[in-house]
Symmetry: C2
Subunit: 754 residues, 2 copies
């Protein structure tokens, strides 16, 4: 399975840099050309380490109490991508001479990105150049770049100058008024030296005072000679050989990155790891990469038949989720993964609601560090709750790297209290999917209890129901509202889930330990239960739908069909008050609530709500279409589900939001997987266990996906008019299909029509 | 009548600088000591010209569409206050030697501030120094500073060095985290020269590119010799004489300020005006000042008997309103008048709702330029409406100098659409009080029609009523709400008033001209009338009160009695979301609506609303207590009205909000006058004309006030158990007292108990 583009389109350069970034959850390197590009082309040259940030004070013209004080931004670290190439004395560039062939491909089974260039120089020398890259899943600090050169119709001097470059700035674009016109410098080089044949460099962030190091060295095939030079900001290795016509010569660049959030001594550790890495050739690390991915794909086995584009998008989504997700309990998943600087490299609820399910249900060992990363932010969440005026509890920051709030516009930032519910939802799902009570009795309970306390402090009783005022739901076109259905529903789920967990902990003799650790009391648990059962969920009797919030349905409906296409996304063309004043949704809100929590709502309310909100939703957020796809399938509109699914699958590969250059839309990639499993497959994990409601759009020949539940791995394959369920490993499992209970011990084949 | 303080209290220095500023509506000079103060004391040295501003881009970490782009700030202009004094070779300072007597007094009849210092130098020389200042009401560009020195027990050299200083920065305070720690420079000196014995200086603002000039020269009594020196940033005149023991010598400093918002050539005009001014001695300008004020006080005749502090506060309030109000149709009234840089010298709704009534009812010639100043902003208001997404109409900026929005936090800024109603209310009141149909047919109609159109575009019909969603009312502790009672009520008043005006214009044969000028149609007028009559005014049936907005009464009540005193004002200690989530009011909102528009609401609703909102109002805004005083009187709680009135009267003189150093609270000064006329006097100007409902708190022996209505000037004097109404000038007038109609032709004496 590959993602592949042929031909070089200068206007798409920055987008392709995103699509062909290599990453492993710690280290991400955009698919920049080793040899560089002309300065007039839009290109974002970047390498990032998950959670490695610089900070800066946030300036407000009018600062009110409790406004977030400090920005955090993912840092564009030391650049080790550069390799200038001279062939028979002529500098190689894709923008001179003749490109006989140009191909970029990411192999999802190998985990290697390859750029293949068949090039005739201005002087007439034809050469084949193959660039291969990987960010190792085995050694997360390691990236490899292999350059293979074959003189096709000439012989002579091949010279490579391989750089390590410390004069790095953040993304900027003098032609885009929304971006900085000059690049901000976030690292200062503190060390640049040669250690044997290795080039070593270290840097300190300007404000946050974090340290990082990079160590670079080379192996080669061919009669290369090497000379290493080092200066304050740039080190370089000059590699030269004489190549015969038709003879491939190659150099592999080993790049190791370390940082002080993980290592006590990043410099020493970088050199140690570089030594380990250098002991093995490119092929060794490529084999390890393939082995790692083979195991991954066994768990993540999913595909679409009869639509190769969709199938590739799905595979790429799963692969990129893996490449984006922190695996060390420090890094989480930035909303752009490790592919760019968009949204400052912040973590949002995207992780828990859109991406966590994929990891949880394909390999919970990848899900757990995401929970650990949130647990590590708990103290910051407590402080944030105090800043927001809450006497007790913890409130997770809407956007953050280390846990402190980085949102400079609270109405669509800190006001999104539902992030607490998202975090809780992930912990509760983890418990239900894995049964890991030991984890829940420790870390899990700590997070769940403190975040639950927040709801009790934020909400209040009024006329017999528990209400939560002045919060913002997922839809950022309505901010600071009262009783957002989604928020109240996820809070209810949170409080109920905690109660259920406490019962299970009690039965396992673990509750007393939790009470001692958290100060939880019976009385407090009772107040949680009362609030959950009294939770106010706004409904509109006349319309027969769930109301997005108390006031939403009395506002003026915005006729989005009458708005010219060039005025979308609306947030770039309308003042927030205009949007807040109208019934218009940036994204799924109530519809998302019905996806996550359909229990208790009638089919009729779910169907009518979908129809109602669909008419006023612009999908200006990339978090929207995948949800509408799943809920279209849920409401029996299978062809519509397919259309939304296609939109979701195409988002980055076809750049439908126009900003893939700034990085991938990681949440949508989770949505792309969920669209198969939860959407067409109808998978739900409420109450007693998995249930399915598979359907198949006419445009697909079939699809399949796999999920793991309490140790049982189930493969669901749908084609023609039937679904085949296969127990791939683990004990027999009870599940429901179209509401009917089944026990799956080996294979079940069921008709699609319920 | 004087405001007077004895003794020098260094900690109160900055506050006294505010209290003893001199101003005339164009030019304001803080009461800084001519000879300066030690650098470690908090002092704000400043001179300001109404509406003379510098601009700066507003930076947002997250800028959304339509956010205000450019800040405007009143400029601290060239400093002409400085006079160093040497007495027998010893430098005069209030902070060395012995202060035998120190007195500061502002004479409200003379319009002169006097500082009297009986000082013994460290070397033992005793002298009497008298500093007198005025900002001329006759020549608005002119300020005079007279220094009189009498050697009491010695004779010898008296030397004055009088400065004109261009190295001026804005207010800053390294000890206050809310203020800039270093002073921002907003002017660059472009010219510093001698013109004869005059010192001439000109400056350009750094960003807005405005020009200003100051010209300074001296006259003296005594055998002074003068030497004038001029350098790039500082000019000085050295004046020396030998004074005999007991002989008073004096120097008068003439300071003229001009600016390019008023003058094509500020430099030439400054010199011309200086020549005119210099032709007359201090005594001449003092006489003119007294004449001007005598006329003013005839119109503004009001007072309190039996409480000298209240009487002085009332007189000072009226005087300071006069000193603050722009009279040239360019400057309006900054919320701090011309006494400081607080709120950047911006104009708010304070002008129309709190201060305009005083001018309108005492001297409409002073009211009219305030309307003209708003009319001059109409085009900016149109542009602002477009920015905010409105297809038609004009929306006045919440805070501004030239008309463009300067609020960097829209939820308690641009969202306060009610400012449109405030502007309209002032125009409509002007029409009713003066009958000036010619003005209304031109400027008035232009403003009223464009602002009315905004309501129609901002609101919408829902379930048979006209609603206005997502606006902020006066109370900034609840932002972006739906159907704020105050906003809807003032919009209704606006639309109804415009309809009434159009009928009157029609009768006068002026409507066609208005239609041609504004594009107003019969259909549009009908839609205005429909919206006015269908305006939704939220009520709570159970509580029997008007609801502040749709959601307010379902929120949690904040127990403000339980909050420690040092946590007020709440906005400095609680995140906005905490405040928005609770029933808590910064200031009068619904209660203000009931003050302005009681027609149509029952006494019961008004009374219960007052009681309800009073319990949850913190009065953290200086716009609140005066309204509660008036409405306490209205609801028959006369002693409570008195307590609020005392709070309002003491606000600046006793610095009860702790920030008088930054400038006066001009709106509260309007409230101080309204508290007598509208509060205790019960004056209302609804419908057919003036009505009164006088009451007298036990703590007062009596009070009186005067108002002008359609050419009839009425003096109302209340004492003991009766009110005496006297027609001071103009035709007999029909008015109601306690609901009963009366015709006032000369004098009426009526009992207080209705």
């Amino acid at each position: 399975m590959r993602i592949r583009f042929e031909g070089l389109e200068p206007r798409e350069l920055a987008r392709r840099e995103t699509l062909f970034h290599v990453a492993n959850g710690y280290l991400g390197m955009r698919g920049n050309f080793e040899e560089g590009v002309p300065g007039n082309l839009r290109s974002i040259r970047g390498t990032y380490l998950n959670g490695f940030y610089d900070s800066a004070p946030i300036h407000y013209e009018e600062r009110l109490y409790g406004f977030a004080r400090t920005q955090q931004s993912i840092v564009n670290v030391i650049d080790a991508q550069g390799v200038d190439i001279s062939l028979g004395g002529e500098a190689f560039s894709c923008f001179t001479g003749t490109l006989n062939r140009f191909e970029q491909a990411l192999d999802l089974a190998k985990g290697i990105y390859t750029r293949t260039v068949d090039w005739t120089s201005p002087g007439g020398r034809r050469s084949l150049l193959v660039f291969e890259r990987l960010a190792s899943f085995d050694m997360q600090q390691l990236a490899l770049i292999q350059v293979r050169v074959t003189p096709l119709d000439w012989g002579g001097r091949v010279e490579l100058v391989s750089f390590q470059h410390g004069d790095v700035v953040q993304d900027h674009d003098p032609n885009d008024p929304r971006k900085a016109s000059t690049g901000k410098k976030m690292i200062d080089i503190t060390l640049a030296s040669r250690e044997g044949s290795a080039m070593l460099m270290a840097a300190r962030t300007t404000q946050s005072g974090l340290m990082m190091a990079s160590a670079v060295a080379h192996r080669w095939q061919g009669a290369f000679g090497q000379e290493v030079q080092s200066s304050k900001q740039v080190s370089q290795a000059i590699l030269m050989c004489e190549a015969a016509q038709g003879q491939e010569v190659s150099v592999t660049k080993y790049c190791v990155f370390t940082d002080s959030r993980r290592e006590a001594d990043p410099v020493t550790q970088a050199l140690t790891l570089l030594d380990q890495a250098l002991a093995q050739p490119f092929a060794y690390w490529a084999d390890r990469q393939a082995d790692y991915l083979a195991a991954f794909w066994r768990g993540a086995d999913a595909g679409v038949r009869g639509d190769e584009a969709l199938n590739a998008a799905l595979a790429w989504s799963m692969y990129t989720l893996l490449a984006s997700a922190g695996k060390d309990g420090i890094g989480n998943i930035a909303s752009k993964g490790l592919s760019g600087e968009g949204y400052e490299g912040h973590y949002f609820w995207d992780t828990e609601i859109y991406m966590f399910p994929f990891f949880l249900l394909t390999d919970p060992r990848l899900a757990r560090p995401l929970l650990d990363s949130r647990a590590a932010m708990l103290e910051e969440a407590r402080l944030h709750a105090r800043e927001m005026g809450h006497a007790s509890g913890a409130l997770y920051a809407w956007r953050t790297i280390t846990g402190s709030e980085c949102s400079a516009y609270f109405p669509s930032g800190s006001a999104q209290y539902h992030i607490n519910g998202a975090v809780a939802h992930a912990f509760l799902s983890y418990w239900r999917a894995t049964g890991d009570l030991a984890y829940m009795a420790g870390t899990g309970a700590l997070v769940l209890v403190e975040t639950a306390r927040l709801w009790l402090d934020a909400g209040h009783w009024h006329e017999g129901s528990f209400r939560i005022d002045s919060v913002t739901g997922p839809d950022e076109y309505s901010c600071v509202v009262n009783n957002n259905y989604y928020t109240n529903r996820i809070a209810q789920h949170h409080l109920r889930g905690l109660a259920a967990l406490c019962r299970a902990l009690d039965q396992a003799g673990l509750l007393e330990q939790v009470k001692a650790q958290t100060g939880l009391t019976r009385q407090e648990l009772d107040s949680f239960a009362l609030a959950a059962e009294g939770m106010y969920l706004p409904q509109d009797e006349k319309l027969g739908i769930s109301a997005q919030d108390d006031a939403f349905l009395s506002k003026q409906v915005l006729d989005i069909a009458a708005i010219p296409r060039d005025r979308f996304p609306l947030l770039l063309h309308y003042h927030p008050l205009f949007l807040y004043r109208h019934q218009v949704c940036k994204q799924a809100d109530t519809v998302l609530a019905h996806f996550l929590f359909e229990e208790g709502e009638s089919e009729d309310v779910i169907n009518k709500s979908f129809d109602y909100y669909e008419r006023i939703t612009t999908h200006d957020s990339s978090l929207s279409e995948c949800v509408f796809s799943m809920m279209a399938a849920r409401t029996g509109q299978v062809e519509k589900a397919y259309r939304y699914y296609r939109g979701s699958a195409a988002l980055d590969l076809e750049d439908t939001h126009g900003n893939t250059a700034d990085g991938i839309h990681a949440a949508n990639m989770g949505g792309c997987w969920m669209g198969i499993a939860f959407g067409f497959g109808g998978l739900r994990l409420f109450g007693e266990g998995p249930s399915l409601r598979p359907c198949l759009p006419a445009q697909m020949a079939g699809y399949h996906f796999t999920f793991l539940w309490q140790g049982s791995r189930v493969r669901v394959a749908v084609e023609a008019d039937q679904a085949q369920l296969t127990l791939m490993e683990g004990p027999a499992i009870r599940l429901r299909v179209f509401g009917q209970p089944h026990e799956l011990a080996s294979t079940l084949t069921l008709p699609l029509n319920g």
